[in-house]
């Protein structure tokens, strides 16, 4: 099972008020040029079928409830990727009164993919890292202690 999760992670993409930039780059990562499907990555329509939750956007007030619900709907063990600078820091929208971000206030985040927006290569690297974390979590669905990882040069 651990090998299967590492070799074929299924994603659910959730837009929590993003500007479409990161969302389009996720779709571009699945397109023939970058071809994330060679890693076994499949974009799923339902969070109940997914292993990895990809969140874009700075978590608006209207989306915060949905983010928590969707996180609970993903069956464990699971991993969360924050794609772009918005879910990590709320980016240029900082100080906005209608934002409840950043994302790690609400759900534990494992991998941060920084960038506005990140390149498709970086998104694929983030998914690969999340798949490794998922495999290490083993078969214990309760094991959701976040392993904070960054893609790229940025070190915590």
């Amino acid at each position: 099972m651990c090998t299967a999760r590492r070799r074929s992670p299924w994603l659910f993409h959730m837009n929590s008020g993003s500007c479409n930039g990161c969302d389009i780059e996720i779709v571009a990562a699945l397109s023939p040029r970058y071809d994330a499907e060679q890693l076994g990555v499949l974009l799923q329509g339902s969070p109940r079928h997914a292993d990895i939750l990809c969140v874009t956007g700075p978590v608006t007030r209207k989306a915060v409830g949905a983010v928590k619900t969707v996180y609970d709907q993903v069956p464990g063990p699971k991993a969360v990727i924050a794609i772009g600078s918005c879910p990590a820091t709320t980016n240029v929208f900082i100080d906005s009164r209608t934002l409840e971000g950043p994302l790690d206030k609400h759900v534990p985040v494992d991998v941060y993919v920084p960038g506005c927006p990140p390149r498709p290569d970086a998104i694929i690297q983030g998914v690969a890292k999340a798949a490794e974390i998922l495999a290490k979590r083993g078969n214990n669905p309760q094991n959701a202690e976040p392993v904070v990882t960054f893609v790229g040069e940025v070190q915590p």
């Binding site: 930039g21 990161c22 779709v27 571009a28 007030r61 989306a63 100080d95 209608t98």
Partner: protein
């Protein structure tokens, strides 16, 4: 006996969070209600707290698909208030970037529409083609999405070798005429999913005041690039494609023809780009009290910015944005009436909605 089917806000058929409640009788949609606001980031208020450099970076992130258009419209409005004029070369670079953005947005739309038709091969073909446009955008600006090209009084980066990009444009046009357009116009899959679906009549298009390709597909002959030229569009030769049918297929045709016209504009702009400065070079601006508006034809239709300023202030007093989806959205209600439930995702996608622009 009618019942309500909710679609969204987090639905696999939708790219963005919004909610469409369909009131159905059997398989037939009688009416639709739209709920938006899931993307509300309060950008217009945030703009009042940012100075005239920061506000450009902020407005670039209104929308990730037409980010250049938003800064172009904002900078044109601020140029009116600061009383500066962009040099001719900057205006040509603005045309080149705006047309490249139209190309990538229309090809992206074609990909998403074919995915909703259940035509996965075409989706992959469109996205492979889109990467070629992204290559050109990246060669000019260094970025794939948020280009940060515009500044007050010009652009930030020059097109170093315009003629080298012509080969890429030829390649793109060849690919469009050889694969994408023939498949969309002749394939029976595309025709059976699009023809006669989601009709918006000319009268309804006028009374809903729709803009952009949605209006042009319903026989409304309007295009700001020709009717109220900005940047260097007055010097370009191009046609405005207009279709009369008003269905999804007509919207597809209008966008396909616009891609060809964009290639034509790009070729003219790259060949005739004048030498000279790319910006006025000033980094301090004195704004006058007042309100300036600017209108630009974005890939989805008309974008209008209204910027108010108080003299001596570094921050704008008010930045108001009117986006094309805001105008096109109410027309969806008339398009889905009487349609089959399975066609509604394609019909609502046919206006190319962008809710992150609309909610802001």
């Amino acid at each position: 006996m009618s019942y309500k089917i909710p679609m969204g806000p987090y639905h696999p058929g939708l790219e963005e969070p919004y909610k469409l409640d369909m009131i159905c009788e059997g398989e037939t949609v009688r009416d639709a209600e739209l709920h938006i606001g899931f993307n509300f980031r309060n950008i217009e208020h945030l703009a009042e707290t940012r100075n005239y450099f920061q506000v450009i970076a902020l407005m670039e992130r209104v929308c990730g698909i037409c980010s250049f258009i938003h800064t172009l419209t904002l900078c044109q409005a601020m140029e009116k208030l600061a009383n500066v004029e962009a040099p001719p070369r900057a205006k040509y670079i603005r045309v080149i970037m705006a047309e490249l953005e139209r190309l990538h947005s229309h090809v992206l739309w074609a990909g998403i529409a074919s995915k909703l038709m259940g035509f996965k091969t075409m989706f992959m073909t469109c996205f492979a083609l889109r990467e070629k446009v992204m290559d050109v955008l990246q060669a000019i600006s260094g970025n794939r999405v948020n280009y940060s090209m515009n500044c007050i009084g010009g652009v930030n980066r020059d097109v170093e070798d315009p003629t080298a990009l012509l080969a890429l444009i030829d390649d793109l046009e060849r690919e469009m005429t050889r694969t994408v357009i023939p498949i969309f116009t002749t394939s029976s899959t595309a025709r059976s999913r699009c023809a006669g679906i989601g009709v918006l009549t000319h009268e309804k298009a006028v009374s809903c005041a729709v803009v952009g390709p949605t209006a042009r597909a319903s026989g409304v002959n309007q295009d700001l690039r020709r009717d109220a030229p900005y940047a260097a569009y007055a010097e370009m030769q191009f046609e405005v494609p207009v279709e009369q049918a008003g269905d999804v297929r007509a919207r597809l045709f209008v966008r396909a023809l616009e891609i060809m016209e964009s290639c034509r504009i790009l070729r003219q702009a790259l060949n005739n780009i004048p030498p000279g400065e790319i910006s006025t070079g000033a980094d301090k601006f004195a704004f006058v009290t007042g309100t300036a508006t600017s209108r630009v034809e974005a890939p989805r239709g008309e974008v209008m910015y209204s910027v108010s300023w108080k003299e001596g202030s570094r921050n704008p007093a008010r930045v108001h944005v009117r986006t094309p989806t805001f105008a096109n959205m109410p027309a969806v209600r008339w398009m889905v009436r009487g349609a089959r439930l399975a066609d509604t995702p394609l019909i609502q996608a046919s206006i190319d909605p962008c809710y992150s622009c609309t909610d802001r």
